[in-house]
C-alpha cells in the first residue's frame, strides 16, 4: 500500500502553473482524498504532483447577480456548513452531508470531485441538475463551459493539458424553484450505487441528472419505457423534489 515515488510542488501562482503541469508525468492534486487511495493502489503513478491548494482564490465563495461562484478548492465540509444564500445553501449542504465522512469532507473539494468525474460521485450529478458552469483556467486564460459539456464521460472531462478547474458557477434558482436529491448507497457516506438530482422551476421542464456508467448525464427527454432503471430514478427524483420544502 505504499505509493510509488513522486515529487510534489505546491503551486502558489497561476502564471507558473502551466509550466509545472507541463513537466513529464505531472498531475494536479487538491484534497488528495481520491488521489491518495489511487496512488496507494498504484492505479496511477504520477512523477510530479502539483498541489493547487495555495493558489489565490481557490477557496473563494462569491455571490454575483446571477450565480453563486465557488472556487474549485471549496471543501465538501464548507459546503455542508453552508455557503451562499438560500435556497442553494440548503440544497448544497444536503448533498455535501451525504458525501463520505466528515474527516474526508474536511479535505475533499468540489472541484476535485468534478475534475475526477467518478461515475459514482455526488457533485457531478447534483451540479449538472443545477445547471452549473465550470470555469477552466490555464495561466491567465479562462474558459467557461456548461457542466453538460465539461463532463465528457466516466473519469473524463473537457480539461485540456495544463488546464485546471478554477471555479464553479451555480445559477441562482428562480423564485419557487425546488430541488430533489436521491442517493442510493450501501451505507451512509459510501459511494452511490445510483443517484439522481432534479431541479424544478416554475414554467420549465424538470431538469434531471442521473449517474450512469458514462458518468453524470442529463435525462433530456422522458426515459424509454423499456428502461426501468431510468424510469424509476426519474420517478423517485421528481417525488423527492415535490416533497422538498419550497
Amino acid at each position: 500500500m505504499t505509493p510509488a515515488r513522486f515529487a510534489l510542488r505546491r503551486a502558489t501562482d497561476w502564471e507558473e502553473l502551466p509550466a509545472l503541469l507541463a513537466q513529464p508525468g505531472a498531475m494536479p492534486v487538491a484534497g488528495a482524498q481520491s488521489l491518495m487511495p489511487m496512488l496507494a493502489l498504484r492505479m496511477t503513478e504520477p512523477a510530479l504532483l502539483v498541489a493547487l491548494g495555495d493558489l489565490p482564490g481557490l477557496q473563494r465563495v462569491e455571490q454575483t447577480a446571477a450565480a453563486l461562484v465557488i472556487g474549485a478548492g471549496v471543501t465538501h465540509a464548507a459546503t455542508e456548513d453552508g455557503i451562499g444564500p438560500e435556497p442553494l445553501r440548503g440544497w448544497l449542504a444536503h448533498v455535501a452531508s451525504g458525501i463520505a465522512y466528515r474527516p474526508v469532507r474536511n479535505r475533499g473539494t468540489v472541484g476535485g470531485s468534478l475534475a475526477l468525474h467518478d461515475p459514482a460521485a455526488d457533485w457531478p450529478v447534483a451540479l449538472l441538475a443545477l445547471d452549473a458552469v465550470a470555469v477552466l483556467r490555464r495561466g491567465a486564460i479562462k474558459r467557461r463551459m456548461a457542466l453538460a459539456q465539461f463532463l465528457t464521460g466516466a473519469f473524463a472531462t473537457a480539461l485540456g493539458s495544463g488546464e485546471v478547474l478554477e471555479a464553479i458557477e451555480i445559477p441562482t434558482p428562480p423564485p419557487g424553484a425546488r430541488f430533489g436529491w436521491c442517493k442510493i448507497a450501501p451505507a451512509p457516506g459510501a459511494f452511490a450505487e445510483a443517484a439522481t438530482a432534479v431541479l424544478l422551476r416554475p414554467g420549465a421542464a424538470p431538469r434531471i441528472a442521473v449517474t450512469t456508467h458514462d458518468g453524470a448525464r442529463l435525462l433530456t427527454a422522458a426515459p424509454r419505457p423499456d428502461d426501468p432503471y431510468l424510469a424509476r430514478l426519474r420517478e423517485v427524483a421528481i417525488r423527492r423534489a415535490e416533497a422538498a420544502a419550497a
Binding site: 500500500m1 505504499t2 505509493p3 510509488a4 515515488r5 513522486f6 515529487a7 510534489l8 505546491r10 492534486v29 488528495a32 482524498q33 491518495m36 487511495p37 496512488l39 496507494a40 493502489l41 504532483l49 498541489a51 491548494g53 465540509a77 463520505a100 465522512y101 466528515r102 474527516p103 474526508v104 474536511n106 479535505r107 451505507a187 451512509p188 457516506g189
Partner: protein, 153 residues
C-alpha cells in the same frame, strides 16, 4: 526534511512526498495513538486534527500538512471534552481492543463541538466512517451521548 507543527511543538522530520502524515507521525515521531487500519480513508483509525478539523492522516501527504497545526490524540490529554469522553468510554465499556479508539475519540469530540451529537441516531450517523470490529457500537454511542450532555452543562 520538513517542518511540521505537531501538538504545539515544531518538529523536523525526514519525509518523502509519498509518505502519509499517519506514517510520519507513527514511524518518525513515535506518536502511536494514531492507528493505520485501511490506509484508504474508510475506517477512521487514523483521524487527527488539522487546523482544528478532523482529517484522515492516511490520506494526507505529510508534506501537505506543512503550515498546518497537527494535533493527535496525545495532544488532547488535557482537553476538557476529551476528559469527559475518556471517562464515559471507560464507564460504558466503549472499547475492547482499542484499535479504533483514538479515531473514535477525535471524531466524537468534533461531533460534540459542532453540536451533532444530540441523540443516538445523530451519533450513529456521525460514526458511519468510524469502524469498530469489537464493541457493536452501543457502548460508544452511549459514551458519546453522555459526554455531549456533560459538554452542554
Amino acid at each position: 526534511m520538513i517542518r511540521l507543527q505537531v501538538n504545539g511543538a515544531m518538529q523536523e522530520v525526514v519525509a518523502e512526498p509519498r509518505d502519509s502524515l499517519a506514517a510520519v507521525l507513527r514511524d518518525r515521531l513515535g506518536l502511536h495513538a494514531t492507528r493505520i487500519g485501511c490506509a484508504h480513508g474508510s475506517c477512521g483509525a487514523c483521524n487527527v486534527l488539522l487546523d482544528g478539523a478532523p482529517a484522515r492522516a492516511c490520506l494526507v501527504p505529510a508534506v501537505l500538512a506543512v503550515g498546518q497545526e497537527v494535533v493527535t490524540l496525545e495532544g488532547l490529554r488535557d482537553d476538557h471534552i476529551m476528559l469527559s469522553l475518556r471517562a464515559a468510554f471507560q464507564a460504558q465499556h466503549a472499547l475492547q481492543c482499542g484499535y479504533c479508539t483514538a479515531g473514535m475519540l477525535i471524531a466524537a469530540r468534533d461531533m460534540i463541538q459542532r453540536g451533532c451529537a444530540r441523540n443516538p441516531d445523530e451519533i450513529r450517523a456521525g460514526l458511519a466512517g468510524q469502524l469498530c470490529r469489537c464493541t457493536g457500537y452501543d457502548g460508544i454511542v452511549a459514551a458519546i451521548l453522555g459526554a455531549a450532555h456533560d459538554a452542554r452543562r
